[in-house]
Symmetry: C2
Subunit: 531 residues, 2 copies
């Protein structure tokens, strides 16, 4: 059965005409049926007739669903590095933001449900934060809808614009959401389906939203709107909608009734390679997460193993718990990680030098240098176990100057934290004032015995996967950028010269802490009382 | 005037009820008017009543328009580097793909229209490639719609799936489109509005589509569909729709009548900082583009300034022309750039060593090493002018072994090209077989006198902004990866040992080309006939 195009368009049959698409494909009876509603067609005397007047054709260019699915595929990779810790970090970021206003303990649980008796493998990230209303959950799903332009209420009267948090030491403000991409990017990097389950404070309802690659594909095939979906609103504890392949959810959902608010991110379709990595390299990626969130976990002074007075009992406690449910199961608190690089730096340091940086654009940075002395026969500068760092290239050729490359070596001095969270692929090599001057009286080795940390606020920009700063070093090395030493006695006094105070500090450290025993030939046996 | 909610919902007035949103906001008469069509509401006995049954709420989560606008903001940045050459490169990529099947000269023009007498400042990239049908132009605008999943015809019968091009030397296959993001990302990185003008081969029509930030914002404010737009179909040469602020388009459009097919990308809203950079650092960014496309411009053997026999007159010629229309105007062909790093490498090399690499997954790589000899009193290894490379860190301390760090120094050996196009931020340091063995008879300096290039096909993955390979080094260093030397006499013979042949080559280079004059104390005057 075909359409009679001549009749359809009421063209007298003595008149020659063709019906073409805007691409000048001739539409014959067969093709006419294939056309979609809203197609623009031309009725012309011949296929190549020049358009007598310009025409407008309506089009639709909604981004492809790969915008959600693929955004993380490539972005978390850095040559030779594993991408999963960075993806999990996005979910921890969100949980930290969500628990920022908690009055009690802030709990973030990363559960790896790999025991097949519970159903298919799943990665769950659960927090006891503020949760999301259904409107907020809807907004969560909108790619690139950042907090700066979000309307979180249906009603204009109830919308509140984003409020920048007050400055806090080390910029540990928990405000680590920025671009509106992290959660989606991370979830689809880890698996191919994500179920968000959330209950906002003082609401009786739990909201659920599932996004899945399969669903997207099905909708595309059926020419349905890919970005239409449904939120399930239900009472807490009700798991009647959960199929047996996801029966691990029963437990998660049963526990809802005891919680005032929470969010659970449930990722399934986790590929076997990821599962293998998460199991086999458990200590590697937990160490990396402990490193990224070191100062959130341990407070502004970090993980001082011995000096408890430096522990931070002022800020509410943040527990990041990782549980592997497999055979056997085990569980750990990231606070217990003892070999992340910051822990090593802090505990091998004998003294610190603090400073503040201000850029002309309002960027503020807290800086800390730590001295790792030479003790008797070796450098105490920590080795870098952290594979997130680029490997230190060994020099193939013997270096004549001996010890000088053994401490920090060619590594950059500073690790960099943005709003309190490590940005793993940016390091800053040094500043003018902490470089060894040509005519220094101090031995060259001293200048490779300190490590450093920079804590910036979000006036410094990072890329959308929070892997790199965009222009930190440029901004810091700008001539208008101001460095001020901070001593404990006399906080951030102006007009003090940072190079002078730094050199003084370094000299102190060298004379006070470096204990070098040099054998220049046997003279006599000496008893050293300070050992 | 208010609605009477009781009447609206036909609730008997003796019954107490509240109307709430799914966020449990009570909807009173005032708020009822604010609701949008399709909102889900509950009629409950009190605001906090537990839902008797689960409900489903329809939502829409079309990505935010920032997906298009902001995608490039952060991604082209690398610490301290300028982002514009990389953004322009995306547009050149597209033009190279579009002209791949040209039979004559392939012309790509980058026009900087900064002379205010022509209207507002604009960046235009024009090519004489295949152009786009209106359907293809529509697809261009769909973010993340890659060539692998594109339907380029309205009719299923006329759709052709992506065909991978046949292998060619150096993988110069012009197939540099991949992710469906580049054009949009680049355009909105450069400016805030982009007009695509395109005429496909053998169509009488020109198609035009404008995307602009302002338009997106307006639509969002009016709660219209942000991703709906119109394509203008018109006859070539007709600029009646162009306003006077864009009168530079008159000329572009007038020239359409002489062209069988073309595409013009017209970017406006270029920020003053970009304009300044493009003008002031003209030679820097043109050098970088000449570097990125070196082998497309000069053919598989590159820019041999003297040996014309190596010039490639087999492949159709590619002209990349840059024109700055300002006061004064000037114009250049990127083929004329003489100081891009590849040109320097090629012309200071005295011999080359070629090899092929195959990975177990079908990845193929062409490799070239080039020897830059020591001549009389200095190394001829080129200095790196190319700021796209990370700066070579100077060692603060004197190096005792003298000359050895003066040639390549700490730089990585290999620059890496993907489908013939430089991926600027990935370099490969070395391979086992070209590292100096411990008991080598050759002087250490020889091992820092060669540079290298790797040409991969797209079995190796790069990130979506084509700045970095994801796992090139990992894959190349996999134990199943096979390296075979290629000599001109005996192409890619199997079973040959690359390390042996490489060492042989290096030894030859050293004995034949290095001309070292060492003054060990005056003995007598010698006349060297070879000088
Ligand atoms: N665990 C959570 N609890 C409460 N709200 C959440 C949670 N996770 C995400 N959200 C909400 O969803 C929004 C989107 O999250 P997503 O991680 O995709 O982007 P983002 O955090 O805004 O920005 P970024 O790209 O920096 O991650 C968040 O801003 C937040 O409002
Ligand atoms: N100059 C051009 N001539 C013809 N077609 C073009 C041109 N520029 C873009 N297109 C079409 O539009 C599509 C989308 O371009 P865009 O650069 O946004 O993504 P892509 O090239 O497919 O992928 P990538 O993210 O790798 O750049 C291209 O695949 C191509 O089909
Ligand atoms: Mg986030
Ligand atoms: Mg492209």
């Amino acid at each position: 059965m075909g359409y009679d195009l001549e009749m359809e368009f009421a063209v007298p049959s003595y008149q020659r005409f063709v019906l073409v698409t805007t691409d000048r494909t001739v539409v014959n009876d067969g093709k006419y049926k294939e056309l979609q509603d809203g197609s623009t067609l031309y009725l012309l005397q011949n296929k190549d007739q020049v358009l007598p007047v310009a025409t407008e054709e309506n089009i639709n260019f909604v981004p492809h669903y790969n915008t959600l699915i693929e955004s993380g595929t490539f972005e978390y990779f850095a040559e030779g590095q594993k991408s999963l810790p960075c993806a999990l970090a996005e979910l921890v970021d969100n949980a930290l933001s969500a628990t920022a206003k908690n009055t009690g303990v802030r709990t973030i649980e990363i559960q790896l449900l790999f025991d097949r008796t519970f159903g298919k493998p799943a990665v769950v990230v659960l927090d006891n934060g503020c949760g999301m209303t259904s409107k907020q959950l809807n907004n969560w799903a909108v790619y690139r809808l950042s907090k700066f332009m979000r309307e979180n209420s249906t009603f204009e009267s109830e919308r509140d614009a984003y409020v920048r948090p007050d400055p806090v030491p080390r910029s540990l403000n928990s405000d680590i959401s920025y671009f509106g991409v992290g959660g989606k990017q991370a979830a689809f990097h880890i698996g191919d389906s994500v179920r968000m389950i959330s209950k906002p404070i003082s609401s009786p309802d739990v909201h659920e939203l599932v996004l899945s690659k399969e669903e997207f594909q099905k909708k595309e095939q059926n020419k349905e709107d890919v970005f239409k979906g449904t939120i399930l609103n239900r009472k807490p504890g009700d798991y009647s909608h959960v199929t047996s392949s996801e029966r691990f959810l029963h437990e998660v959902i049963k526990e809802e009734t005891g919680r005032d608010s929470f969010t659970a991110v449930v990722i399934t379709g986790v590929c076997p390679e990821h599962i293998k990595y998460l199991k086999q390299d458990f200590s590697e990626w937990t160490r990396q997460l402990a490193h990224i969130y070191h100062y959130y976990i341990h407070g502004p002074n970090g993980n001082h193993k011995t000096d408890n007075s430096l522990g931070s009992n002022v800020i509410p406690q943040i527990d990041i718990l990782v549980t592997l449910r497999d055979k056997p199961s085990y569980s750990m608190n990231l606070r217990k990680v003892e070999d992340d690089l910051q822990t090593l730096y802090i505990n091998s340091a004998v003294d610190t030098f603090e400073f503040k940086v201000k850029t002309s654009e309002g960027g503020t940075v807290d800086g800390v240098l730590r001295y790792h002395p030479f003790l008797y026969d070796k450098e105490t500068y920590p080795k870098d176990l952290n594979v997130l760092q680029a490997p230190v290239e060994e020099d193939d050729y013997e270096n004549e100057s001996g010890t000088m490359n053994q401490a920090r070596g060619k590594r950059d001095i500073f690790e960099c934290f943005w709003n309190g969270r490590l940005i793993p692929y940016t390091t800053v090599s040094e500043f003018d004032w902490c470089r060894r001057p040509n005519k220094s009286v101090l031995p060259a080795e001293c200048y490779s015995r300190f490590s450093g940390v920079l804590f910036t606020n979000d006036k410094f920009r990072v890329n959308a996967s929070k892997q790199k700063f965009m222009d930190l070093e440029l901004k810091l090395k700008n001539k208008d950028t101001l460095f001020t030493p901070v001593s404990n006695v006399q906080k951030a006094s102006k007009g003090r010269n940072i190079q002078k105070e730094f050199t003084q500090w370094l000299q102190n450290c060298n004379s006070q802490f470096d204990k070098q025993v040099k054998f220049l030939g046997f003279i006599k046996t000496v008893e050293r009382k300070d050992l």
